[in-house]
Chain length 128, copies 6
């Protein structure tokens, strides 16, 4: 059960006060985005494919929201000094989530997951 | 980065189609609920404490929603046969999330986390 | 005006405190779900049919949410003892609401309405 | 079970297409608003009373939203000709829902319920 | 920067208390509605056009919500006396926003913008 | 009516496709935030002040959301080259919106409005 009792969960003072942040929230939504694009490709049912478009739109939006919260609320000025690529990385990741709304290509979902992993690595560094 | 590339992420057919479920979503929100109750206890600032009440309400609601989705969408009849306590466990866990709205005692958050861990153990069994 | 002044409206202690619950909320949404599936069948306009898919998705989701709240917040352990089928009935009803997202067949809406009626009968029993 | 199989449920063409409208949705939320104001009066627990303020705010907002949808989407120009008080009645009812956010007096909830009943009577007339 | 420091921003007592209202909120959403309908017409990509339907639905809903808030919360009885067309104008404008969900014709968006401009003129009069 | 027919409204290709963006959306919400903090200071009514805390929380959240959308969806790499302070400015502005949730001091609202004005000036430059 180590996955569900992560020692790495953040405990920082923030405007939501709770101090609990984790890139896993964005990643789980991005996994959905990627999986839906694949299911769209594997189907030839019109209604099913329309629902893929609708539902992928929502999960890609949740990716954006989780990333924005992480960027604004978790990271502090010393983090930005230590990781000067931080702003641009979040900008590209949230833009990529926007691309993943537009595209039904699972490869865009993979690129999105790659950017979230980069963020997660920095996050893990700040938790040490 | 093993936390963020969990092999145990579910890939099941579901009404949302994406097949990605994970008890971590409920757990992260429950961590917030518990942390906010503690911060409430540690503060004597009126506005801060009122915001604790408001924000804990939202995160406890998110716990409920993530658990409900997991219960209805991820679990299938064979799971209920294998784990006959499943329905009651989810019922008690979502009721506990309701208790955690009412109470400012971090112990209620701990009980909620305990029930989510029980669900996560069953979930992990079904992923083998 | 008896419909709008129901004596049978529940007044129980709950985590939302208000004590007002009623299966009519889920039923009205399920009526929408059923009606939209029919309108989809009766139309051959592409945009209209796409909007049917989008809007049915939302109402079916509201069915789920109203049922989940009823299950977790209104019903208490003595109810489950008296009506041992309760958990399974709610599980099947919320799963059926998921099916009603997927299907454009009004018959699925009818099945959903049937399950909500079963819940409403139990609810009415508990109000006596 | 006549309550849950209302013959009076509206089936009109509307921008949501489903044609299912009912003043019961606003009324159930207004019942909550009234009940919460009463519970606030009956309690002397600070956190409980703060939660009353938070949750009443939400239910009063739902009253407004259900009424606005009914006004804009269900009623048609011939209804307004037949019931010239319609616009003003909805305006006063939604304003009263606003008052019910501000006030912890259950009497405001009663006034709100009274206005919703006036709307429901007109609605019932249009269903004949 | 005069656009962003409008002297005409309303400061009235209201159930949201903040006193800040402005028809610009509805207008910006209606601009989106109109622009999306045009982009739909200019495209022959299936997924893109489906997304137009989905997203226009949301912005047209936001138009309705901003207008409803303005109608119920900003305007007061003396305004209705001075501008007796007010109720009907808001009713037609919110109905037009409903039409703009149904139609992919940019002309409907133009009509919606026209009605919002009529509201804005009255609003400006009340701010003098 | 020049305010409501701004020539400066953005028409860019974006993941929402509509191309309509405007800092006025964030500014109107920030005006609310500031006004609510002032009303809190001017009142000694407990329920009124609790509602100020609740409602300011929501409007400050809307400020964040409008700013995040503007940052990710409107601005493009050439803008960041021309305005290298852009990322940091949005980061500080959204953090300030978080501060404005915590504080009941209208001065924090003023600082937030100042940062939104800086963003609006850059936005106006990009519209020329």
């Amino acid at each position: 059960m180590s996955f569900l009792r992560p020692r790495r969960v953040a405990h920082a003072h923030c405007d939501l006060m709770c101090g609990v942040y984790h890139p896993a929230q964005a990643r789980i939504e991005a996994e959905s985005v990627r999986a839906i694009a694949q299911k769209y490709q594997d189907s030839d049912d019109d209604v099913f494919r329309q629902r893929c478009v609708i539902i992928k739109e929502k999960h890609a939006q949740l990716v954006k929201e989780h990333l924005w919260v992480l960027w604004t609320d978790y990271f502090k000025p010393p983090h930005v000094e230590a990781f000067p690529q931080l702003h641009d990385l979040f900008w590209r990741a949230t833009k990529k989530a926007g691309d993943a709304k537009k595209s039904m290509d699972p490869a865009v979902g993979d690129e999105l997951l790659g950017l979230i992993d980069e963020i997660a690595e920095i996050f893990a560094e700040t938790q040490k």
